[in-house]
Amino acid sequence: MANKSVWSDNRFWRRSATWVTGFASLLLIWLTFDTSTQIAMGNDKDLQNGVTKRVPGPTVINYKITYEMSAKRGHEVPVIGGNDGKGGSLFKEKEKFFGRDDYTEKEAGALLHLGKLASQAKNCMDCHTLLGNGAYYAPDLTKAWLDPAWGPNGAMQALTGKNTREEAIAEFLQHPDQYPTHARMMPDLGITAKEAKGLVAFLKHMSSIDTNGFPRNFGHMQGAVNGK
């Protein structure tokens, strides 16, 4: 036994496995602390003070949101309340959401809470993807709020007969089977007007999350049809 190589020694490998697992776990825990701080939801003060958060506070629904190329980051980022000229957010330009742009932290938070609950209660993720995760039976909703289809000249505003993004989306969510866009239709999930408003707030908030440039080129390719 004295000449036995360490490489064929079970005890050596057992200890290696323990050390490797322990080290990887500790590194993951350490990174989790850092990431948790970075993805904690911001608040209204941050928005007013021009502090960019990876996940902004719920009152972001009072602002205009766009998705623009940042030369510094090398990919698109959500721009809140206007572009500062360097690809960052100005936090100035407001945008009415169901007729108001002065939702308090509490009101906006309640809407977001309702919307997030509704997104789970209706199993959204089992057809759609949110932040790219979910099922692949229906479009990704990460930046759906910014989809040109819901915009002023978009097909969905025309189809639903509404004049704003939020009203068009809310109308669609309440009666998806009345506005079929393809053979594959969204079923009626009994979404109430209130829940629909919450869901739209949830979608608008999600579009303001910094997703490191996913999805690429979102909504910037509307000119291309069937590869032409």
């Binding site: 993805i39 996940v55 789970q120 209660a121 199993n123 057809c127 949110l130 909504g219 390719m221």
Partner: protein, 474 residues
Amino acid sequence: MANSYLKSESKQLATWYFTFAAILFGAQLLFGLVAAIQYVEPGFLYGILDFSIARILHINALVVWMVFAMFGSVYWLLPDETGIETVGIKVGKLLFWIFALAIVIVVLVFLFIQVGKADATTIWFITEGREYIEAPRWADWGIVVVALGFVGNLFLTGMKGKQTGIVTVLMADMIAFAGLYLAGMFFTDNISVDQYWWWWVIHLWVEATWEVFVGAIAAYGLIKMIGAHRQVVEMWLWIEVAMLFGSGILGLGHHYFWIGTPEYWWEIGALFSALEPLPLVAMFIHVLYDWGKTQGAEEEKGNSASVINNKPAFTWFVLNAFGNFLGAGIWGFFHTLPQVNLYTHGTQFTSAHGHLAFFGAYATILVGMMYIAIQGTNGIKVMKNTRASIWAVSLITGGVVGMTIALTIAGYVQVLVSRAQMGATWAAYFDGQSGMWFVQAMDWRLIMGVVTFIGFFFLAKDLLTTGKNPVHEK
């Protein structure tokens, strides 16, 4: 179920787990077929059993049958490994019924109530609406209790009896497996935080703890079926644990590229998930090498008979070695680098990977364990393949590989058209979905799904009847 060959109550309980697992396997395939038909014929069961519900049932049945078969495998091997009867077997039997009953209730609620109002009651009693772990909160707590009872039995038995390397690995692995579930049991308004912890359950289960579990089961199977040398097998097992946890734990980073988490996950996720296939190569080599070595040693002694004492189980174990490497390793590596994943994230690519990986890494070896249980239950010395065994393994494997190829092609179309070319909007999505190659791929996926389903009937027939078949050597 009790018979003269099955002295151990632990093994008897294992057969209960395997039986329920096999039934759920059938349910998984049935709801998968419904979902596959809906891709081809969107009006199918529209408003009655919508895609979302079919998919919830398809994937939850998958997860649960695997957990049942995993519990069954542990209850089966514990008496062999520890040399004693499993401690707390009465509790184990009670927990089986609680678990099974809870699952039946959850499935009935999914089927007939489906969705609820946007409030906490829905989260607690109807659906939690978080992909793969939709089970409502009450069931979460039920699962925690059942898992704790199971882990408790495993620990008490492991500490009282002989603690082999395999049992040690299982003890460490199963406590992590149970503990991780807790990360998926809270509600937050912050979707990024939600998905951060959600992946702790999903990823650290299937790309860490479940893989280590497979390593332990493969080790047990090799000793049991071909008489591989324990010292060698357990050394490999420890190497695999080091490699699997070394790559898999931080490989979690490949889910943190686009969910709001910081950029450094690009580098961490890319590096460690690129290493994830390595242990799967090691496991592949391990199974085939040990087989060749043991057979060679016998032939040296002049015995030309096969060293395998359970042909159908060994077939599934070898398929596991291939399938794990191909499905989890290669198909996973395809889209794991952030430069590629930016376009492939959330497309049928993931679905292709999911089908081959879950089948290759888990379904195969767990079906293999079912055959080992049949061998033990019927006191068979050398178990042979029957015609049904061969049809089952061929049709199921062929079907899953066919679905994987079809979904890979569908994913390609989706990535190129919907993502790269059109920019990921609603219109872009449907442009991709209506492309000719996508549509054809979905037709093929359905056909291959039917092939898999037919294979399941052969498997069910074989599992039910092969034990009494006179071809085996008693």
